[in-house]
């Protein structure tokens, strides 16, 4: 508790400027925490040498195989003694936050207390990019204690390693009119029914679920998760005449054309005279003024959200809500970054049975992944290797033209099963009719 502060000329530079400084925070902690004194020493060294000095290892809590990111220093003297011994161990605990990242002020204080009491550095990141509360800086000896404390408070470790990972859902239903399903419920059902895969990592590689209430995808789920659940709707966009007139009054015809009509990706919106004529099936009439209105052709609308974003409240998602499921998003290793692609164009997500179906689906995804992916192969890579169709067959989903931007443009395919496949389509059509 009395270790001398180390000179950190480089880090000090990061105390300047208006943005909140993490260095100032580190210094505050270092005042009564030797681990942080040495942490700053190592970090300052990195700033000088432009090298990192951490290596991994194996540290965990009883019964779990993941959730802790162990860090041991590699910055040692000629006798292999750590140059900054108090920070020689500087592990991170990944703690799953309440879905949607809601906190009471009390909870924040309780967490701070718990972290300090159990040997933690006092440094917490809200949040890591996967959505974990990252309790950063603890020695091996204290890890179990810290976890136990948080677990008692109702919190659990998140994922690390070849495992189901911590998930994220947008604020959604809690505060957003675009929300098309109960994001928090979906997250908790999917994650909490598969905790075994999170806590005892034995998948081929990591697997992430993310949940966004609408296609604005505030969770970046399409890119950053192996299975993205994104809200959407099947029926007509709803229009609120009062709000649309207000919007127009505050804007202009130019704005209506340039900001709304012209940006619609499928040209589904047209400007019309507001002449009282009845609109066709599938068309939403958006009154701008006594003279003009917009007509949205909902059958050609691709649910991009743009017009709803520009005219909030005046336009709202339809009432027949549900979700689109996309699979295979991930970062750059080893084939380049991928986006998730559609595997279920639409499913309802309202009743208990609907949520049960989502639960089953996520389990099938994990099972198929566990059985078919190569080591260190993400779902997106696996699909690239085996083909989307084999994946769909594996998890028992039907093909649908919404899954593609376009049908194949090459003849490199053996099609001797054409008649059977065509028959399946007609059967499904008939069944649906």
């Amino acid at each position: 508790m009395a270790k001398q502060m180390i000179d950190t000329p480089n880090l000090d530079e990061l105390e300047n400027g208006p943005w909140p400084s993490f260095v100032t925070g580190l210094k505050r902690l270092a005042k009564d925490n030797d681990m942080m004194v040495d942490l700053m020493g190592q970090l300052e060294t990195s700033y000088q040498t432009r090298f990192g000095y951490w290596k991994g290892g194996t540290v965990g809590v009883v019964g779990y195989g993941g959730g802790v990111i162990p860090r041991f220093t590699e910055l040692k003297d000629e006798n292999h003694k750590p140059l900054f011994p108090e920070a020689a161990e500087f592990h991170t605990l990944r703690i799953m936050p309440p879905a949607g990242m809601h906190y009471s002020s009390d909870l924040l204080r309780q967490m701070s207390d718990a972290w300090l009491e159990t040997g933690g550095s006092g440094l917490i990141a809200f949040h890591g990019q996967s959505g974990d509360i990252m309790l950063q800086g603890i020695k091996t000896a204290d890890v179990q204690r810290a976890f136990d404390k948080f677990n008692e408070m109702g919190f659990d470790l998140g994922g690390a390693g070849p495992a189901l990972r911590t998930s994220m859902s947008c604020v959604g239903a809690a505060r957003c009119e675009m929300s098309c399903f109960d994001e928090a419920r979906a997250l908790r059902i999917v994650i909490n029914n598969n905790l075994d895969d999170m806590h005892r990592p034995s998948l081929p590689y990591k697997f992430k679920f993310k949940f966004s209430g609408c296609p604005n995808d505030c969770m970046n789920s399409i890119q950053r998760s192996d299975m993205a659940t994104i809200g959407t709707w099947r029926d007509n966009i709803r229009a609120d005449e009062k709000l649309s007139r207000e919007w127009y009054a505050a804007h202009s015809m130019e704005d209506a054309i340039n900001m709304v009509v012209n940006h619609c990706p499928s040209k589904a919106i047209q400007l019309r005279k507001n002449d009282g004529a009845a609109v066709a099936e599938g068309v939403t009439k958006v009154v701008l003024s006594d003279e003009s209105c917009l007509e949205i052709d909902n059958h050609n609308c691709v649910r991009c959200m743009h017009c709803l974003n520009v005219m909030p409240g005046a336009l709202l998602p339809g009432k027949d809500k549900g979700v689109t499921i996309l699979v295979g998003g991930k970062s750059v290793l080893k084939i380049g970054a991928t986006m998730g692609t559609v595997v279920i164009p639409f499913m309802k997500l309202e009743s208990d049975e609907d949520f049960e179906r989502l639960n089953d689906l996520s389990r099938s995804m994990l099972d198929f992944f566990a059985e078919n992916a190569l080591e260190h192969e993400r779902t997106g890579e696996m699909i690239e290797r085996i083909g989307l169709v084999n994946f769909l067959e594996g998890i028992e989903l039907e093909v649908d033209p919404n899954m593609v931007n376009q049908p194949r443009a090459n003849p490199y395919i053996r099609m001797d099963g054409w008649d059977e496949e065509a028959a399946k389509w007609f059967e499904r059509k008939q069944a649906a009719a």
């Binding site: 609308c301 996309l326 559609v342 593609v404 049908p407 194949r408 443009a409 395919i413 001797d416 054409w418």
Partner: protein, 357 residues
């Protein structure tokens, strides 16, 4: 061979000027306007006011010399003695005098040459050799085209499509006929049947192995003779091994079927050029009139005609309405085969929530 009396002159591609209508020659590079007075007729005007009318008619491409002489005679009698052929084997008569247009049309029509193929009509089908001449065909191109053009006659002689419609037919997957609004191409569905007795004599084995796009062919000894073997699980039945090795018979009277592709476009107008995409397959190779092919082509054209907006080519129309609607409106089935699994196919998947309901 008799003794040669001629010494070859490697003259290359001939100068067109001696064969060009004088008004075109005089105004070469100086045109400023065109219009479409009626189906099958073009009007062009030059800077200096010079005018030329073009009357366009369909031919069978593979022509006997009697037909050619008939076309030449019409040129002399009703036009100014000049013609040109388009890239789609249509013949164009240019006349400097508007009054010649109608008599010319009459002569062509009476001679059995349909006048049309301009502007937003269905033009003649670009096609290939087939059983008539090629060594690897799965069907006959001239025949299939004749049968189909009989059915599309009205669409050739009228201009009632949203935009130009360019069709092609190819007698094997090599697709010499090219990318088109609607392309009709034979599609093999079974791996080649190998006549092992012949391979050693006829095929250069390393060449054949190298041709396979999926490395499904390997050298093998069969009945003690050097031959080739195909991994039938890998084989995508493309037929690329057949030209260098005819004993690897890919054509099959029953299992080589027609496939239909739509939305190919080479022009840069509006959207960038794009390839045609598979929409229908498993269509029997049914000479002499291939009715199943015509039926599907006509169905697609009918929907496009009714639903497309002016100037939308086939691909533009589908871009607007979306592929699900295309399958819906045409009644064609969507199957797992439509989902691309060739190299780079990731970019063809819908990596978005852009979905129409």
């Amino acid at each position: 061979m008799a003794e040669r009396t001629h010494q070859t002159i490697e003259s290359g591609a001939p100068d067109p000027m001696p064969y060009m209508h004088p008004v075109m020659k005089d105004n070469y590079g100086k045109w400023v306007f065109h219009s479409h007075p009626k189906p099958g007729v073009l009007y062009h005007r030059a800077e200096n006011g010079a005018e030329i009318w073009t009357v366009k008619a369909g031919t069978q491409r593979q022509m006997d010399h009697y037909t050619i002489r008939k076309l030449a005679d019409i040129a002399d009698q009703f036009a100014d003695g000049y013609v040109r052929f388009t890239t789609r084997s249509n013949i164009e008569y240019m006349v400097a005098d508007q009054t010649k247009v109608e008599p010319l049309i009459k002569a062509l029509s009476e001679g059995g040459f349909p006048v049309g193929g301009t502007a937003n009509s269905v033009s003649m089908i670009a096609h290939t050799q087939g059983w008539l001449h090629c060594d690897i065909p799965g069907t006959d191109a001239s025949g299939a085209v004749k049968a189909l053009m009989d059915e599309l006659y009205d669409e050739f002689t009228k201009c009632e499509m949203p935009n130009r419609v360019k069709l092609s037919t190819s007698c094997c997957e090599i697709n010499c006929g090219g990318q088109a609004d609607i392309a009709i191409v034979i599609q093999h569905t079974m791996p080649p049947k190998i006549n092992h007795d012949l391979v050693a004599n006829v095929c250069e084995r390393p060449t054949v192995v190298a041709r396979c796009p999926v490395a499904a062919i390997r050298p093998a000894l069969v009945n003690g003779k050097p031959s080739l073997e195909v991994d039938e699980k890998k084989c995508i039945c493309c037929g690329a091994c057949f030209p260098p090795c005819p004993p690897m018979q890919i054509n099959d009277p029953v299992h080589s079927k027609f496939a239909i592709w739509v939305g190919g476009k080479n022009s840069n107008a509006r959207s960038k050029p794009t390839f045609h995409k598979l929409v229908a397959a498993g269509i029997p190779n049914n000479p002499p009139r291939w009715p199943e092919v015509s039926e599907i082509v006509k169905k697609i054209l009918g929907v496009y005609k009714a639903d497309g907006r002016p100037w939308e080519r086939m691909n533009d129309w589908i871009d607007r309405i979306g592929w699900p609607a295309f399958f819906e409106k045409t009644g064609l089935p969507f199957t797992k085969y439509h989902i691309d699994n060739w190299r780079g196919s990731r970019t063809t998947l819908n990596a978005s929530t852009h979905i129409r309901f």
